[in-house]
Symmetry: C2
Subunit: 461 residues, 2 copies
């Protein structure tokens, strides 16, 4: 197919918006190991999850059998305001790299939240509303998830309480301003609104907070207040399923032009973007229809897949959540400061972890921050869009693979996920530009220290 | 046509991207009065303009005869990375307002510059490159135009020197960061890089600068450096023509569904967004094919059309630029602080001024800032997108017109321009939310003071 026949942006029409999400778990050769209740160490049940999550979302979390789950009408109507998102052929990047490879990216930054997080937040808010709840609670660090949830709750008229890590609350007043504009209440964590918050404040009055502590507060508020539930923006099975809309659209758009990816690349923190992008392509792989090569990209400073252990661990630093078998650096591992806040997670989605363990997710690759921003800056200049630091991890590897094609002459088709925009990360770009950007790659000894925090579970691990 | 038949977003395909811009001036019943050389007070010629503007852009500025001007291939290729931009049917806003009106908006914020300014900056950079120039200079206040120009120059590999009003340079380091990421050089103005800057610094060492001074510096640098020209993001005829892409796409998208606007609404600072949006609809009006009603919306704090005078005046505060016959508050008028930085201009595009004077642009309406942010916040919640303060002026009037339809029962079709997003204006939203937002409406005495600055030109005015 000649260049002129494939447009820069392949926009599906709204009538082509997928009508069902894809739940890859139903087709996995080996299911991920069950999530364990932190008290009993038994697999969690719907009854265990229902006080924390909406009932429908708890069911989705445990659903290992239905491959396709219908997207409710109201969610589809909201999706239509910003979806189908464009699949972009990166002609200008290809030209700049002088590569014979064809590069496509699925762009999820074209909504006010600036990332793919809105795909799941609107679904979670919908189910909360449908259940007649008053509101939802969550935590946020850098603020992308909190913004997406605020937008979704504003739309459905739900109360939205966001526990924001205190240091981010102080450093990112504009993120707070956006969330408040959509009607959310933002509480700097730790706070005196919860038992756990008051305890931490009594012990460490000057603490600037942590994501672990914010999760603990959000969960406590939800389970102790009538009509509230807790919601989360990554890691969970339900989130990966909601995000499958990314991959389903990408696949449909490529098929229109007779294209299919040889390589699928996504950044991976908790796994929501890569998990969503790869989903329908993984279905093809699991069913032997196609054999695309999957690459998960993570920061060298937080290398859970490339250097972590595949073990049961807590999903949060505070150890109040269930345990999942996943690639982990230890729930108490604190990665060094890195501008890709969305990738600084100690663990990895249990689904992606299992697929990686079983060899279906082919490769995990860790990349250094300065190399990531080098790619991000080049991308911005030739493709126009300023990418989020998280997404730029995928750009880095897409560029590297395209450059390999230049060496070998192969005309591979590369698809990567451009999960969001970098509007709120300009200070990171400035530090790159000024040459002051650093990246700490943990030593083996530092990782060993983190691994000590992984619980010893004889007979279970 | 039933609701379900018109999608939320009408996306034209790339092959439907307009192939020519529309120059409304060629069809105006009365041409605007000529632009005058500030020294001789004679109409400016191509020779006068060529040391300041690229030759091709100077020709476009003076072109009063060609209605359609072909868009060069290279500009169309760049447009394809972010255009055609969506025309959105605001179903959720209609529902919220319980109005029988049909509301459409043309959304220009879906690119990294966050506004429509990129449509003209890429054209201006292209002509500079085609002429073999080294670079361009410009001024920026809030930074939208500077960002758009930086992106365009980064793409074509042109040097880009942006004189940024010193107070903005200090208060908006992130805007500076974005521009630098695209390779631009940002100079706080006044600076010691120009004669005029050094003079001002000597007289007022503590000044925080002004747009007028930044224009003077940018022009001086361009005319005194080999291979440089000056570029501007609004007011000019060439800019309105480049921006006609907005209206041409909007009209084509509406025609697909048998729709035509009864009312066309745009915010107006220098006139680039409204001028672009209304262009092809104005062609219909001038040729008697349709009679849409046009409304220009301006801030009550800077009411150039509603309370200004239609006279020859300087286009800049520094009085170094040519004189144009336009609606003006006087070149030395300083509007009170207002969050819509892009609308704080003392004058108005000569084309729009003439059309307003002749009754083709039907109405100008001034709106207060708190009312604008009330509309903006409602829009964000129900339509998702966080609008720029400038664009929110158009939203305010679109809502008011839709509410009138609720009273009368008329099913009018309203089209407004959503010229950009509010990512860089969160502090304004916070001040609205906190109830600290104010708006100074100038008294008649204050306006009289400004009018004194309009030059007396017997025999010309």
């Amino acid at each position: 197919m000649s260049k002129s026949e494939i447009p820069y942006k392949i926009n599906l029409s709204e009538s082509e918006l997928p009508k069902a999400w894809y739940n890859v778990r139903a087709d996995m050769k080996t299911d991920h190991r069950p999530i364990l209740h932190p008290g009993t160490l038994k697999p969690v049940t719907l009854e265990d999850l229902s006080p924390v999550f909406c009932t429908e979302l708890a069911k989705q979390e445990l659903n290992a059998t239905d491959a396709y789950v219908e997207i409710p009408f109201e969610i589809r109507e909201f999706y239509k305001m910003y979806r189908p998102s464009p699949l972009v052929r990166a002609y200008c990047l290809e030209k700049e790299l002088k590569t014979p490879a064809k590069i496509y990216y699925k762009f999820e930054g074209g909504n006010t939240s600036g990332s793919h997080k809105l795909n799941s937040s609107i679904a979670q808010a919908y189910y909360a509303k449908a259940q007649g709840l008053k509101g939802v609670t969550t935590e946020t660090g850098a603020g992308q998830w909190g913004t997406a949830l605020s937008m979704a709750c504003g739309y459905f008229g739900l109360d939205c309480r966001v526990y924001m890590v205190k240091v981010s609350y102080q450093q990112k007043p504009y993120r707070k301003g956006v969330m408040e504009t959509y009607g959310a209440t933002i509480i700097p964590s730790p706070s005196d609104t919860t038992e756990v918050g008051r305890k931490i404040l009594a012990e460490h009055p000057d603490t600037t907070g942590s994501l672990g502590c914010a999760i603990s507060e959000a969960v406590e508020y939800a389970v102790t207040h009538e009509g509230y539930r807790y919601v989360l923006g990554s890691v969970l099975n339900q989130v990966l399923m909601h995000q499958s809309i990314i991959g389903l659209e990408a696949k449909a758009a490529m098929e229109k032009y007779g294209e299919y990816p040889d390589i699928v690349i996504g950044c991976a923190g908790g796994g929501s973007n890569l998990g969503g992008l790869m989903a329908p392509f993984m279905e093809d792989r699991l069913k032997g229809r196609h054999a695309p090569y999957f690459i998960a990209v993570e920061p060298a400073s937080c290398p859970s897949m490339t250097r972590g252990k595949f073990m049961y661990d807590f999903c949060d630093t505070g150890k109040v959540t269930p345990l999942a078998k996943m690639y982990t650096l230890g729930a108490t591992y604190i990665p060094s400061p890195n501008h890709a806040g969305g990738l600084r997670y100690h663990g990895m989605s249990p689904i992606l972890s299992q697929l990686y363990h079983d060899g279906y997710l082919d490769e995990a690759r860790a990349v250094e921050q300065t190399k990531v921003f080098e790619a991000a800056t080049l991308f911005a200049r030739v493709e126009g869009t300023l990418p989020a630091p998280e997404s730029s991890h995928a750009i880095r590897v897409a560029i590297d693979e395209a450059l390999k094609c230049r060496e070998t002459g192969e005309q591979k088709t590369i698809l990567f996920g451009l999960s969001g925009t970098g509007y709120f990360d300009i200070s990171a770009y400035m530090s790159y530009k000024e040459g002051t950007m650093t990246d700490h790659i943990p030593t083996d000894e530092e990782l060993e220290e983190g691994f000590k925090g992984i619980p010893s579970l004889p007979g279970i691990q």
